[in-house]
Point group: C2
Chain length 530, copies 2
């Protein structure tokens, strides 16, 4: 055995370059691996990475609870953490939690390979960024690849995101690289159209359900507008949650191509596609922290647009003091990053900052928001005019941006589409294609049957609405999971009320949740008076 070598050890970054220590914790290069038989364990976890082995094997293999290991099967690989059990799993077996089995299509009894995880190669790039060095496209791509293949864990990804809180740490070029890498790591759609238009709202404002109005308006002009939306994570309802009250929103890529061929439009849940999958993990981590750098937020939105092959884009940035974007200064910075990134991707973009005082529309919660949107599309007398005005404005801008309608004519054209019923007709076509009931009416949506009207005990004027508290209360009522749950705002900002007037109405699908909400109401205020 030749032990005297001059072989260069490239296994880890030289500590010389960085003012910090590098230890060999994850550099254990066990050439060895162990085959174990997969067994499903009846536990469902929000985390991807946990496997279970018997303590006999753990001892034999030198595995400690929490050790990071590499799991391989077929030709796939992921990193997992190892828990240890005395009885749940026999020696020679490996317990895989429901999520892992499902996510990775491993079957009971399959042989999988377990070995000690090597440090992810892209950690070196993360170190560089922690020390404020610029990253190349290759480095950023390697990070994104390792995120998607779960070779980087949450803590490591957190260390990659952290420097982005200092705007100076990511150059425009690096944000472009990151966006490109995130888009390219997932599925890329191609609708074979010269114009692919989309409207995107930055979110964070309750209500504001403009997608189900804008999409049919724009589509009624023959423009290709394939819209993917998200389900709610932190709000009372995501667009997909609202749409789901009237039609299916989960489709495969092939089905989406068919929908768009039929109606030059669709409104689907983006999560069913594999668009920009790295972004899902970024979102998970920033949610845990509770704040996100805005560069990250812009990158996240743009990556999805790039993956969708979007050519014309309207970005809606709602500014409201208790919402996600709370001030104009922030909104302007975000707008700037959006426009710069759009230019690099040759996407024609316009960013519309709209300041509001409280929610847009009156319904908060999946079905209540869908009802508002349908009232606008059906031009009902009780439609929320603020929601209509905003939708018409943004749809008009998108029409102008695509060149389909002349400058300054967009808003009128959009309104005409609503008034003439063209938009609603398009909506019915979309609903039909997506398996919904075409005898659709705003007043036939199913709302929670446990209802409570909160009345004023004096007179006054609504000064402002606390979006954050409103969302919390909706979630207590069961939104967005229970789709009929939510709050209807009988009084909006600047509206007067007198003693006995209904201020807002709680809807819930369960008795208990309604009483819980009433209890919570003792501690939260929705309105403040003047």
């Amino acid at each position: 055995m030749e032990q005297i070598k001059n072989k260069k050890d490239n296994s880890s970054l030289s500590a010389n370059h960085y003012p910090a220590f590098i230890d060999s914790f994850k550099n254990r290069k066990m050439a060895h691996h162990f085959f174990l038989k997969a067994r499903s364990v009846d536990i469902s976890t929000g985390r991807w990475w946990i496997v279970l082995i018997n303590e006999v094997d753990a001892q034999r293999l030198g595995i400690m609870p929490g050790d990071e290991l590499k799991l391989e099967w077929d030709s796939k690989t992921t990193e997992v953490a190892c828990d240890i059990t005395k009885e749940l799993i026999e020696p020679g077996e490996i317990g895989l939690f429901a999520d892992i089995l499902k996510q990775y299509h491993i079957k009971e009894g399959d042989l999988v390979k377990l070995s000690f995880a090597k440090r992810a190669p892209s950690l070196q790039a993360i170190y560089k960024k922690l020390f404020k060095k610029s990253l190349t496209y290759q480095e950023i791509k390697s990070i994104v690849n390792d995120i998607v293949s779960y070779r980087l864990n949450d803590i490591e990804i957190a260390f990659f995101i952290a420097p982005a809180f200092d705007e100076k740490n990511f150059s425009e070029k690096e944000l472009y690289y990151l966006t490109k890498a995130i888009a390219e790591t997932g599925e890329i759609l191609d609708f074979g159209q010269k114009i692919v238009a989309v409207k995107h709202s930055a979110g964070g404002l309750p209500g504001n359900r403009i997608t189900p109005i804008i999409v049919p308006i724009v589509a009624s002009f023959g423009i290709c507008i394939p819209k993917t939306s998200s389900r709610s994570i932190t709000s009372a309802a995501g667009t997909a949650d609202a749409l789901e009250t009237i039609m299916k929103v989960e489709f495969t890529t092939k089905e989406i191509y068919d929908l768009v061929k039929k109606n030059n439009s669709c409104m689907v849940w983006g999560g069913a596609l594999k668009l920009a999958p790295a972004d899902d993990r970024f979102i998970q981590i920033t949610h845990s922290l509770g704040i996100e750098p805005y560069s990250k937020m812009v990158v996240s939105v743009m990556a999805k647009q790039v993956a969708m092959g979007v050519t014309h884009l309207i970005i809606d940035l709602p500014v409201e003091k208790t919402a996600k974007i709370s001030d104009m200064e922030t909104a302007k910075k975000i707008k700037e990053i959006f426009l710069r990134l759009s230019r690099r991707f040759h996407i024609k973009s316009e960013v519309v900052i709209s300041k509001s005082n409280g929610p847009i529309g009156r319904g908060i919660g999946p079905a209540l928001e869908m009802r508002d949107a349908l009232r606008v599309l059906q031009q009902k007398d009780n439609r929320p005019f603020d929601l209509e005005a905003k939708s018409v404005k943004l749809a008009g801008k998108l029409l102008e941006l695509t060149g389909k309608v002349k400058k300054n004519q967009g808003e009128k054209a959009a309104l005409d589409s609503l008034i003439s019923g063209m938009a609603f007709k398009k909506m019915i076509q979309i609903v039909e294609a997506q398996g919904g009931n075409t005898l659709l009416d705003s007043e036939s949506l199913s709302l929670g049957k446990y209802i409570y009207e909160v009345r004023a005990t004096n007179s006054g004027m609504i000064k402002s609405i606390n979006s954050r508290n409103l969302v919390e209360l909706c979630r207590v009522l069961g939104a967005p999971e229970l789709k009929g749950s939510g709050i209807y705002l009988n009084k909006l900002v600047k509206e007067n009320y007198k003693k006995g007037d209904v201020l807002f109405t709680l809807y819930s699908e369960s008795d208990q949740r309604l009483s819980l909400a009433l209890e919570v109401l003792e501690h939260l205020s929705i309105y403040s008076n003047s």
Copy 2:
């Protein structure tokens, strides 16, 4: 019901102050809570925070897999993440993993309270630091408190550590605050002595087992030197792992006071005490990342010294190009921070930077390192002279620092203690007090019985030793868990060898691990030749 309030909502940081978004994800203020019956689940996890509930309860309570919840019992509180099961746990029960039950002394059948977790109040301080603002002592203390009470999760802590990679982000004052907070959050010892001396090695250099030599030397002069050491996480052996081959190292605080009263000294595992508990979580997170800011490393060491009531301190910073501290420049920066922090805590400190070329001593692994130390204490002919020289030098400096020995006389005094047998006599007293065998001899330690000698295939001189690879190989052999495992370096740096000479010897307690190590050896080099 009075719904119109002007009550100020202090629940979350105003987004106005920071260029980032704050969402309401964890602000759900469910006033409600649920009582569940504790049941132990036969799973051991490296993470503290997982509980298991039945899917019926999950649905009823609106809990999703991975949701963060607050667990309360007696008057204690911790945050947990929730996994969901169909069968493992009955409705009305809550499954608590072995670690949680053990750590929190919850008994089977106890009623515990579960509610949605509120965002940790100290997150606001973490946000501030992400935006490069200075933190007050109160803010830093709140972070450390929330770390210790598990109200901050790993991701949130990672975001607190990340800014420390930029030296400018934490002022000397903030490092002082952090050290103080970490120390004060745990147990504080008081030996009732004017002088409490300690030597601390920054670690990261294989071998270097100087503690078991220095402590008896210094104690033989009647100086109070209560030494806590760690077990290895990333290395082939921690001092506690090595000491454990000859005596007990786990003691309660009270027992430690007794030991010190008896011998004015002890050598124990620090983990059994609750010194600076926040630091354990910092360590866990930086290990996952693989690097740590040096300010964090200094804070970590100093917090433990402050908690121990240390008054006189020698810090050993070994510099070696493949070790933790790889260059003089880094060592000097670290030294500076150590000295500044020491001054603030009124601890008399001296930092000794010692450059070496490869490990100190010849044995790597718990028993092999202990054997080296005993050979020095027993003044055997085959003792490692580099280890002796370094120990004598540092012990001498500590003797001088305490004023017990005159300036420039320390080294000679320390050597005298070794030669006269006073140090070994003290060692025997310590071993006796800590329940070890007093008929102690360096050659009677139990080493792994599977042995392999790696021989040279040509002639030459050892140019350098790769510490990182050496440690990896020792871990493959089973160190530090299997205490007789490790490597003995028959040839050190600058020593000549000829064909057939034994270069190093592998020891393992298992056949499989030895063959595995031989396999790994094909990919790793320990030496490089000249």
